[in-house]
């Protein structure tokens, strides 16, 4: 399984990269981490006429936090995101999510921008983008625009990016210091694509929940933020009855896929189970009040 021939470009700036993309009119693909693209090319499922390698462009992998917004360059490696102290402090849900993404060797190369742009339905990072209401910065030769998470994921492996656009940055609002959070995932092996995953962030005072953020991954064709489930938790709290109601509502709301890994019914069942587990795990890790 060897890839077909392609023109190889390794530009030194993002502007150069965008110009090349525009020139090829949709026949060029951008190479970030390559952990999804190169396997597809080896199978010859993807045989682009040209590859635009982003790996030599400086300044695309910075991580910082300004005015309550965490900014992560699209080329930041998953491995670095996992280890970054700033993210552990300000965006711990994303740090934790990295443990579930592939395996350590794939995280060495895989990037946050690449994962989001590839939009595999079972990927964890897009789910976190939804859960935390993040957005991406996207550039073409003509313009730069911001796309919020709900508008970004259109279908399996399909985002709102045009073929001449490059995702350059990912932004998240900082997680409040009192927030607790958890991810629950069901996969064949740790690191395999999620068959079903739930990400949750909560701010609570005992059983009273003031803020809930809830998103799914792996279940339907795109990662989804379920505001109605958030509402159940915010209105009814975190007791047994509320958890049961939230789990049921989540199971009702999802649009599960059926494939060789799991039937739609099983995914629906997993949604309910993982919802409950994720909320309980989040509360347990941070029982009452984070300030100590």
């Amino acid at each position: 399984m060897k890839p077909a021939k392609f023109d190889y470009h390794s530009p030194a700036t993002i502007d150069e990269a965008l110009a090349i993309l525009e020139r090829y009119q949709g026949e060029a693909r951008v190479l970030a981490g390559g952990q999804s693209l190169v396997p597809m090319m080896n199978f010859r499922i993807a045989s682009p006429a040209a590859i635009v390698d982003l790996n030599r462009i400086p300044g695309l992998a910075d991580i910082d936090a300004v005015d309550g917004i965490v900014r992560i360059g699209a080329m930041a490696r998953q491995r670095r995101i996992e280890a970054a102290p700033l993210l552990r402090e300000r965006l711990p849900l994303l740090s934790d999510a990295m443990h579930w993404v592939g395996h350590l060797p794939t995280r060495t190369r895989g990037t946050i921008g690449g994962s989001i742009a590839h939009a595999d339905p079972s990927a964890e990072i897009p789910m976190i983008l939804q859960a935390l209401a993040g957005e991406v910065i996207v550039r073409s030769a003509q313009r730069e625009r911001r796309i919020a998470a709900p508008d970004l994921f259109i279908g399996p492996l399909t985002t709102a990016l045009a073929s001449d656009e490059i995702l350059t940055e990912v932004r998240f609002p900082e997680m409040p210091t009192e927030a607790c959070y958890a991810i629950e995932e069901f996969a064949r092996r740790k690191g395999d694509f999620a068959i079903a995953a739930i990400a949750v962030m909560l701010i609570h005072d005992g059983e009273r929940c003031t803020t809930a953020r809830f998103a799914t991954g792996g279940i339907g064709p795109v990662p989804v933020r379920l505001r109605e489930v958030e509402a159940v938790l915010e209105q009814r709290g975190l007791g047994e009855a509320a958890l049961a109601a939230a789990s049921d509502r989540a199971a009702e709301l999802v649009d599960p896929m059926s494939d060789h890994n799991a039937s739609a019914d099983f995914r629906r069942h997993l949604t309910a189970v993982l919802t409950r587990r994720a909320v309980l795990k989040a509360i347990k890790d941070r029982p009452h009040d984070r300030t100590c």
Binding site: K5, Q35, P39, N42, P105, T106, T108, G191
Partner: protein, 164 residues
């Protein structure tokens, strides 16, 4: 450029050069152009881990990188782990704990384990199992590999030779 590109890189401490099409996979370049056949091909889509090597000090799957991406990089392959006749402590541990049968996944297993030990030099058995799930082994059932990594980690902690 579809035509051949020049590659210059360091492999196991030595400067190496080559010339190949941009589409040539890094694993093929290492095996064919550099003659280092210790790195193996098992799947060519980044799933089995047999092709795992060190790229600038971190483990990568060389079957899903292009050789041209390794320009100026420092690679370490399985051939670079021993020092002359002296096995690396992890290789020695694999030997003593019967952690290989056919040996096909072994190079990838060694590199992936060493990579993890850089992050966590004293892992629990569960942590080792999770790290080793990055490489598929069809022969051993992993039990002895886990033991070998535990023992190798201990030997490495005690050694002053420094880690690779």
């Amino acid at each position: 450029m579809t035509g051949p590109v020049d590659i210059r890189l360091t492999v196991n401490g030595q400067t190496r050069e080559g010339r190949c099409e941009p589409r040539k996979l890094l694993v093929d370049f290492i095996r064919e152009d550099l003659g280092l056949t210790g790195t193996h091909i098992g799947c060519e889509h980044g799933v089995c881990g047999a092709c795992t090597i060190f790229y600038n000090g971190e483990a990568v799957r060389s079957c899903i990188m292009f050789a041209v991406q390794a320009y100026d990089a420092e690679l370490v392959t399985v051939e670079g782990l021993a020092e002359g006749d002296k096995l690396h402590p992890l290789q020695q541990a694999f030997h003593e704990h019967h952690a290989l049968q056919c040996g096909y996944c072994t190079p990838g297993m060694l590199i992936a384990a060493l990579d993890y030990l850089k992050i966590n030099a004293d892992p629990t058995e569960d942590e080792i199992r999770e790290a080793l799930s990055a490489v598929l082994c069809r022969c051993t059932g992993y039990v002895n590999i886990v033991k070998a990594v535990k023992a190798g980690a201990e030997a490495m902690r005690q050694s002053t030779a420094g880690d690779k």
